[in-house]
């Protein structure tokens, strides 16, 4: 399998100005994520991993350096272009799900497609399909409040997948879930990985990170460890996560 870089970060620096003080959270971070790779970014809180995620997710722009996503330079994009990248190339999965509470599961899933301007009929097909794939076909008209944590996270994953993004960006996706549902959700990520999705997972839990193919450790704004797993995951083989939970 020839490896094609889905995203590439070159010497990314992010500084914040708080009054007279200047805080640098990312100090020349360079990173490549290949197509189909399942990468975990780990680090303690305050290490800069959230900042890194925001930049990868085009929610924030770097102060210095270059960020290339799918061949386009995102560090020099306008607000509208960034919104387009978020809409088409990135699927977000958040720790606290971030579903819109007044919309039904179905409406949440179709929302990215609404912003893309897709006709209603096509949206309905895709959104229903995604919910069915997540095993929520009968929960389409439920409000997030009426769903369990695991179900909500599955709706969020369906929403992220609906726009058929280049990468899935998950920020502590199991953080708000109990161990059992957390395991289920990680199972979904494993499955998505096997289907060929590029996944970046941010976590502080080394156990969760073990499910990933490669692990990047970040401390004080610097990448301190980069472990690339070369093993190809065989469908049906016991994976790292299950071992982790078995222990």
């Amino acid at each position: 399998m020839s490896r094609h870089a889905e995203i590439e970060l070159k010497d990314i620096v992010k500084t914040y100005h708080m009054g007279a003080e200047t805080l640098t959270t990312l100090k020349k971070v360079s990173l490549r994520v290949y197509r189909g790779e399942f990468m975990a970014i780990v680090g303690p809180s305050g290490s800069g991993k959230s900042t890194l995620m925001n930049i990868i997710g085009c929610l924030d722009t770097p102060s210095e350096g270059q960020y290339i996503i799918d061949g386009q330079d995102a560090s020099r994009m306008s607000d509208n272009q960034l919104a387009r990248v978020r809409n088409e190339k990135i699927g977000f999965i958040f720790q606290s799900f971030h579903l819109l509470s007044q919309l039904s599961a179905f409406e949440n899933v179709e929302l990215p497609l609404v912003y893309r301007g897709m006709p209603a009929k096509q949206r309905r097909e895709i959104a229903s399909g995604m919910l069915a794939q997540m095993g929520l076909a009968d929960k389409q008209n439920h409000k997030p409040r009426q769903l369990s944590g695991g179900q909500q996270q599955r709706v969020a994953i369906a929403r992220a997948l609906a726009s058929q993004p280049s990468i899935l960006l998950a920020d502590e996706p199991t953080g708000a879930l109990d161990t059992k549902t957390g395991k289920e959700v990680m199972g979904i990520f494993q499955q998505l990985h096997r289907q060929g999705h590029t996944i970046i997972l941010i976590t502080h839990d080394p156990g969760v990170a073990e499910a990933a193919e490669s692990v990047i450790r970040i401390t004080d704004g610097i990448i301190t460890e980069e472990r690339r797993g070369n093993h190809a995951i065989q469908p049906g083989s016991p994976d790292g996560l299950e071992e982790h939970y078995r222990q």
């Binding site: 607000d79 919104a83 971030h98 990215p112 912003y115």
Partner: protein, 389 residues
């Protein structure tokens, strides 16, 4: 994002906050309803005034003579001559003054008008019983009189005055007719008077000069040209002493009163529109609170690809839906108010232009006061908005 999607989205979040939306709407509803109702009441008043004045005759010119002496007064014959001016249908000269009227033991001071038979047609003053003053009465200086209902009541009580004899400054007059009730006008009661033939009146009041001349135009369109001709004629007769007479155009009066009532209702509507403004500020207030409250929602929407204009449109549409709904409810409320006002005796006339105007105005307020919060929402940075809780 399509417009219809945006409206649906706005509707959804409005429904989610029913009580708040209702309270926000209240300001605009009251504003719109009071503007429309007040203008409707103004229109109603103007229409009523116009109808009342039309009863008095808009094709009427009256001349009041205040001068004395041979030069600056008008004899009955000279006054009759004015009726020959172009476009004049009829003329009615009037001599007037006060006399002491006596019946049996009752004594009143009353206005006497010496008139000609044309008075009935020109002034639109009719009798309810008996007969009018005729040409023969004038020609033979008959001592006959018509009596107003007010004076009749004072002198005769409930008894029938027609046929009775009264004394005016010691002269015996026979009452031949009872006038219809006129009501009061700007000049006071029109029912407290006695009318006699102008020739008899001239002798009774010991004056040759007429006090007023009423000219009825054939058509109220050429009032101005008649007025001009009349002015010329009188100036010539009075030898330039223009202070000796005073021409009064009934149409002018109608116009003046309508413009006064229009000014009044516009002022009231202006005051009411302040409440519209206050309602608009209410919308802005609520939308700003809503933006702060929904910062995280904005963050989520942006993270899944909403552009700035999508967020702007969403919040602007919310403000517009609120103000538009309020406009509709306000119009309905004012319809109800107009209905009840009209039933209770105050005529209120709704016009389409007022309704359209206040509707447009409430939309404009939605845009004006919605744009600032919407813009604030759209400018939020996705990172900051997502982190907010």
């Amino acid at each position: 994002m399509q417009f219809s999607q945006g409206v649906r989205m706005a509707w959804k979040s409005i429904i989610a906050n029913k009580l708040r939306t209702l309270l926000t709407m209240l300001g605009i509803v009251i504003g719109v309803a009071s503007v429309i109702t007040l203008v409707a009441m103004g229109n109603g008043t103007r229409q009523q005034v116009k109808e009342q004045m039309a009863g008095l005759g808009t094709n009427l010119l009256s001349v009041n003579i205040s001068g004395r002496g041979a030069v600056s007064s008008l004899t009955v014959e000279e006054a009759e001559q004015l009726g020959k001016l172009d476009g004049v249908k009829d003329v009615s000269p009037v001599i007037s003054g006060n006399v002491q009227a006596k019946y049996k033991t009752k004594n009143v001071n009353v206005t006497v008008e010496g008139i000609t038979p044309s008075y009935e047609g020109v002034r639109n003053v009719h009798i309810q019983r008996g007969r009018y003053i005729t040409g023969i009465d004038v020609a033979y200086r008959q001592k006959v009189a018509l009596i107003g209902t007010g004076t009749a009541g004072e002198l005769f009580g409930t008894a029938d005055p027609v046929g009775a004899a009264i004394s005016l400054n010691g002269n015996h007059y026979k009452i031949v007719g009872l006038l219809e009730q006129q009501g009061t006008s700007l000049g006071g009661s029109n029912d407290d008077k006695i009318m006699v033939p102008i020739s008899a009146g001239s002798r009774l009041l010991q004056t040759k000069g007429v006090r007023s001349v009423y000219l009825q135009a054939e058509d109220d369109a050429n009032m101005d040209s008649i007025e001009l001709a009349l002015e010329g004629e009188l100036t010539r007769k009075f030898r330039g002493n223009t202070s000796g007479y005073n021409i009064f155009n009934q149409a002018d009066l109608v116009e003046t009163i309508s413009s006064v009532s229009a000014t009044l209702s516009n002022t009231l509507a202006g005051i009411a529109s302040i409440s519209l403004l206050v309602g608009g500020i209410g919308i802005m207030n609520i939308m700003l609170v809503s933006v702060t409250e929904r910062t995280r929602e904005i963050g989520i929407r942006k993270s899944i690809g909403a552009r700035r204009r999508d967020i702007l449109l969403q919040f602007l549409l919310e403000a517009l839906v609120i103000s538009g709904l309020s406009g509709i409810v306000g119009v309905l409320v004012s319809y109800g108010a107009a209905y009840f006002l009209t039933r209770s005796g105050t005529l209120a006339v709704m016009t389409w232009d007022t309704i359209a105007l206040s509707f447009i105005f409430s939309f404009a307020i939605g845009i004006t006061f919605g744009i600032f919060p919407a813009n604030k929402a759209s400018r939020l940075r996705p990172v900051d908005a997502l982190r907010y809780d």
